[in-house]
Amino acid sequence: MALFLARRLGKGILVLLAIVVLNFFLIRLAPGDPALVMAGEAGAGDELYVAQLREKFGLDQPLPLQLGLYLRSILSLDLGYSVRQQMPVGRLILDRLPATLLLTGTAFLISLTLGVALGALAARRAGRLADTAITALALLFYATPLFWVSLMAIIVFSVRLDWLPAFGFETVGGGYTGLARAADIARHLVLPSLTLGLFFMAVYVRMTRASMLEVAGLDFVKTARAKGLREGTVQRRHVLRNALLPVVTLAGLQAGTLVGGAILTETVFAWPGIGRLMYEALLQRDYNLLLGVFVVSSAMVLLFNLVTDVIYRVVDPRIEAAS
């Protein structure tokens, strides 16, 4: 196991470096540069102004040198400096990370628990009313665009019913502390995390249901029933556990997007997270900040891939034996 982890970590670091180099060139393919964007926003700009900005951004250096400098700072675990925001990239990302993790983490938990539970229920009642209702609902959430669900949720629950705040992380100027603040944040969290979670919930429902129905027809399940086990036990210990592998794979994929995967939700709900930071950095061609977010989110994807592989081995010991 230790050897496996070490090998995978080594590979992961190489992949990360390759991603950094690739991204470095990829974002420079987009037209324009940060200096022009800032000059553009100023509504005025002469050559001197743009030249000064280019120098500040380090864009006056040859490209290979820029890459070399960037790689050196990455290897010393320094994500660089965002000239535009006048702050180290690491700090900008760390500032936004808690909000994003809270949102995506909550959405992850909601979608996984609800998805597996509803999927298992649907499989058990296959062909009956509960199954039809759950499957139809899942299909609806699966097919509806996220931003539309978000806007409709805002219109219904915030504008019409006035039950929940429409946007933001907490009440600005509310002055809450301690538990009151936690409750305030939780209220703000409901709509974005639900809309973000619904799509993945639908995926988990469909995956769990299909996988369980497949396993339910296998011989060992008949054997378990023949042993005289109760139906609940059969479903839980024999069917569900063996049906979970594809769900774990998907959950690993979703977990990989925990850092950067909520751009739309964060935008609609004005949630101050990483996704928005990345999107704005992209529009503003803030190269260092954009690369920084890419590095962090690729690292997360690699990490969660590794975690998924470890979980495989726990859920299904046959995998370890085979490798």
């Binding site: 987009a30 743009v50 006048q86 504008v159 946007f167 101050p272």
Partner: protein, 516 residues
């Protein structure tokens, strides 16, 4: 008799109502939207719209300007202009202090001019004719110019020449000074807190140099990235102030008809946002004058205003906005006339080439406008294809002249010499900036006329010179003027006196108060 008494009572009531409504009450919190989130608040280093909108509360200029662009006292309480039009003497207010308690003096003015000449491209241009700035005493500043410069009294607004604290910046690297993150000005509000991605909080400056101002205790600027969510924020009462441009135009009628909502188009007179199509004068069909005139006749400006801009704005009849000095309503030429456009098109020898049409990437309204113009042009037989870009791509394409027809809008800053000439004189043809003579128009008579008008002393002389230039420019049609844009400010009606100058919301919330 009864009627007399009744009407007398009505008058009395009305008077009483007016008296109550006009007595400002101190206190209260203003919640406004800021879009997009500014990169920073140091107005001397950053000149973009959102920065000025927030920092216009923190910093101040020597002067402010009324809706008709008459100078009003700011940090200067009075001013005189020498008879030769080359010396400008300002008397500064005596009790102004920086937010850290240090007094504001003439030394700060001298320092600010030097600072801005290094960092502020517009100030650099405005100060080009200044040969010396002197401080004979701590509350007097004298600007001496090499030759008269007509618009000079119009360049002291907070965004054009913000006052920078000498004691904070002198001898430091301006761009990396840590004080940039905690800006210090003399303005009515002080910087308090900035939660990136969420809000910016300003608090009342208790030592402000105008007695009794500001009225508000706090201002929250909310950062809400999605246009629909910004509209919802106003509808649900989370914010009470939507500055111009913060919601999509198609939401403006709905929001302004809400109960308790007020809307004003005022407060943009100084900027005079003027939109037009850049027609690439260097190459292709757009290099031909008759073709360019045909484009101008082909465009239905009333339709654009009524349908796309929801009735806001005015057709632009020439290079000078009607809110800018020396505008002359008699000089317009191009009306919507497809038949004339077709005739001119024939005369130009256009062979049906497809032209690249570049919209401004600032949201839905501009996209729809591009579609409408494409339709107008196709109706008279001009083929176009819309090129999609984002802001960075738009800047790149326009400043590298990589387009055939491109939408744009520019501010005029109250005077043709400041905001109009730059798009038409040949010394302003230079790659690398989307704010100069991007279309590549060059006419020696126009160059000469703009140069003479800028340095002429008497307003009558300037008017005559500008009329001559404008006539030529309209005939040459280097660009196709579209609309004088209006960015309505939508507020809850209880927010009073928010827009009191020609600079509007960008001039700070000094006089604003909330009715309770």
């Amino acid at each position: 008799m009864v009627r007399l008494i009744v009407s007398g009572a009505v008058v009395l009531l009305a008077l009483a109502g007016a008296a109550v409504a006009q007595a400002p009450k101190p206190g209260g919190v203003a919640n406004a939207v800021i879009q997009p989130e500014p990169p920073g608040l140091m107005l001397g280093l950053l000149q973009n719209g959102p920065t000025q909108m927030v920092a216009g509360n923190i910093y101040e200029g020597l002067l402010r300007y009324s809706e008709t662009l008459e100078p009003k006292p700011g940090l200067a309480e009075s001013w005189t202009v020498g008879p030769d039009g080359k010396t400008y003497t300002f008397s500064l207010v005596k009790n102004a202090t920086w937010h850290d308690g240090k007094p504001f003096t003439a030394a700060d003015v001298l320092f600010s001019v030097e600072f801005l000449k290094q960092t502020h491209p517009r100030a650099r241009g405005n100060m080009a004719k200044v040969t010396s700035v002197a401080a004979p005493d701590p509350h007097t500043v004298v600007f001496t110019l090499s030759e008269p410069f007509g618009p000079f009294l119009g360049v002291f607004e907070v965004g054009s020449l913000p006052m920078i604290p000498k004691h904070v910046y002198e001898g430091t690297d301006y761009k990396t000074n840590p004080a940039n993150n905690t800006p210090i000005g003399t303005g009515p509000f002080m910087f308090k807190e900035w939660k990136k991605g969420s809000f910016i909080r300003l608090v009342k400056n208790p030592n402000y140099h105008v007695a009794g101002r500001p009225y508000l205790d706090e201002i929250y600027w909310h950062v809400i990235p999605d246009a629909a969510s910004r509209a919802v924020a106003f509808e649900t009462g989370k914010v009470d102030i939507l500055p111009g441009g913060s919601v999509e135009n198609f939401d403006v009628p709905r929001l302004s008809q809400m109960k308790g909502a007020c809307v004003t188009g005022k407060g943009w007179e100084f900027f005079g946002p003027h939109s037009w199509l850049w027609l690439n004068n260097r190459q292709g069909p757009t290099a031909n004058k008759a073709f360019r005139q045909a484009v101008s006749y082909a465009i239905d400006r009333d339709f654009a205003r009524d349908v796309i801009w929801n009735g806001l704005g005015k057709p632009a009849i020439g290079p000078v906005s009607s809110s800018t000095r020396f505008f002359n309503a008699k000089l317009g030429q191009y009306s919507y006339d497809p038949a004339k456009a077709k005739a001119l098109l024939k005369q130009s020898g256009y062979k049906g080439e497809t032209l690249r049409l570049l919209p401004v990437p600032y949201g839905e309204t501009w996209q729809r406008w591009a579609e409408a113009v494409k339709q107008n042009l196709e109706d008279v037989g001009i083929k176009t294809e819309i090129v999609a870009t984002d802001v960075a791509g738009w800047n790149q394409k326009t400043s590298e002249w990589d387009y055939d027809i491109a939408f744009t809008y520019l501010y005029q800053y109250g005077d043709p010499a400041l905001g109009v000439a730059r798009n038409y004189i040949s010394s302003q043809i230079a790659k690398g900036s989307p704010f100069n003579n991007v279309e590549g128009y060059s006419n020696p008579a126009v160059d000469k006329g703009f140069a003479e008008a800028a340095v002429a002393v008497s307003p009558a002389e300037r008017q005559a010179l500008y009329d001559g230039v404008v006539k030529t420019v309209i005939e040459d049609a280097p660009v196709a003027w579209l609309l004088e844009l209006q960015f309505p400010t939508i507020t809850r009606c209880k927010v009073k006196d928010l827009v009191t100058t020609g600079i509007g919301v960008n001039d700070g919330f000094r006089d604003a108060w909330i009715e309770r």
